[in-house]
């Protein structure tokens, strides 16, 4: 299975401390880069300030270096979990395009994405709660719709077996 980032393996205080530290650096970066500000993202999408390219570029260079070192230089597993160092590779299918398109409309309309929205809470931007509420509703609706779809498919298969 390609979802290698979802199984936590080790838990406990040290594990959570590292996750928390990573989250703090991540959120600090979203603040410094001003991505927690929907107006700045919208300025990018309206092609008035292309700085966002450098945010994504700067972050991707560091993560590329990180994954390169993890998979090619460090010949061992992560100290806190025993998990092997891997790269993030997801299967390609139609949902990647459909999801990307729906995400793009939402991002273009609002200027918010999940990480930046959480960071915005830390800056005291309470109207962002509308966006976070919307994201949870969207994720729930998506899950509900896919469950119903799966049920219907399973149902018709059973019917077909008669």
């Amino acid at each position: 299975m390609s979802d290698t980032d979802v199984e936590p393996d080790g838990r406990g205080a040290r594990f959570h401390a590292v996750i928390l530290l990573g989250g703090i650096l991540f959120g600090f970066g979203l603040g410094v880069s001003r991505m927690a500000r929907p107006e700045v993202v919208l300025d990018f999408l309206q092609l008035q300030d292309l700085g966002l390219l450098f945010v994504m570029g700067g972050a991707a260079v560091v993560s590329a270096l990180t994954f390169y070192i993890g998979t090619n230089v460090l010949d061992r597993t992560a100290p806190l979990t025993g998990r092997a160092y891997t790269r993030r590779v997801r299967e390609m299918d139609r949902n990647v395009l459909v999801g990307g398109t729906v995400f793009g409309v939402g991002w273009g309309l609002s200027g918010i994405c999940p990480g930046a929205a959480y960071a915005s809470v830390g800056i005291g931007n309470w109207p962002i709660l509308w966006a976070i509420g919307g994201m949870f509703l969207g994720a729930y609706a998506q899950g509900l719709a896919r469950s119903k779809l799966a049920e219907r498919t399973a149902g018709s298969e059973v019917a077909g077996a008669d």
Partner: protein, 159 residues
């Protein structure tokens, strides 16, 4: 930077790039410590497992990771608060209208779960992994988002 290019970077590029490097360092800290490649959007589904009995949200991978995803998200909030109180302008609120935030958020929630990631999962970690799937997803949402923002601008939706 030539003037024609500088016009596209009214706030320079250093602050943006430095912020991006910190985002990458956050990913690196978690990766080297735990081997986990952290994205921000799975938090939505894994957190729904606390409140919903829908089997889709209660799959093993969400139940197993929902606790650390809460920790990760708390860290993001704390990190941004540290920025706001030190280098940043203190607190501020967005002028973007609530209906845009709510409707846009809804579509982001659907799209990120359907498309297996968001700007951090695909855009930072996936692109950093040179994953064709992620590069395709990022190219798709970039083009669509720019188009959407241009249409909104043309229709006079502001802010």
């Amino acid at each position: 930077m030539p003037p024609w290019l500088a016009a596209y970077f009214p706030d320079g590029v250093v602050g943006y790039a430095v912020g991006g490097v910190f985002i990458g360092l956050g990913v690196a800290a978690i990766y080297f410590g735990t081997g986990i490649i952290a994205g921000a959007s799975t938090f939505l589904e894994s957190t729904l497992s606390y409140a919903s009995r829908l089997p889709r949200f209660n799959r093993g991978k969400y139940l197993a990771s929902r606790d650390w995803r809460v920790t990760f998200t708390a860290g993001i909030i704390i990190g941004a608060a540290v920025y706001a109180l030190t280098l940043g302008p203190g607190g501020w609120t967005t002028q973007v209208q609530p209906w845009r935030l709510l409707a846009g958020g809804f579509l982001v929630g659907v799209g990120t779960r359907l498309g297996k990631g968001c700007t951090s999962g695909h855009g930072v970690c996936g692109v950093g992994s040179v994953s064709g799937t992620s590069i395709t997803n990022v190219a798709t949402f970039m083009v669509v988002a720019i188009g959407t923002a241009q249409v909104a601008l043309a229709l006079g939706v502001s802010p």
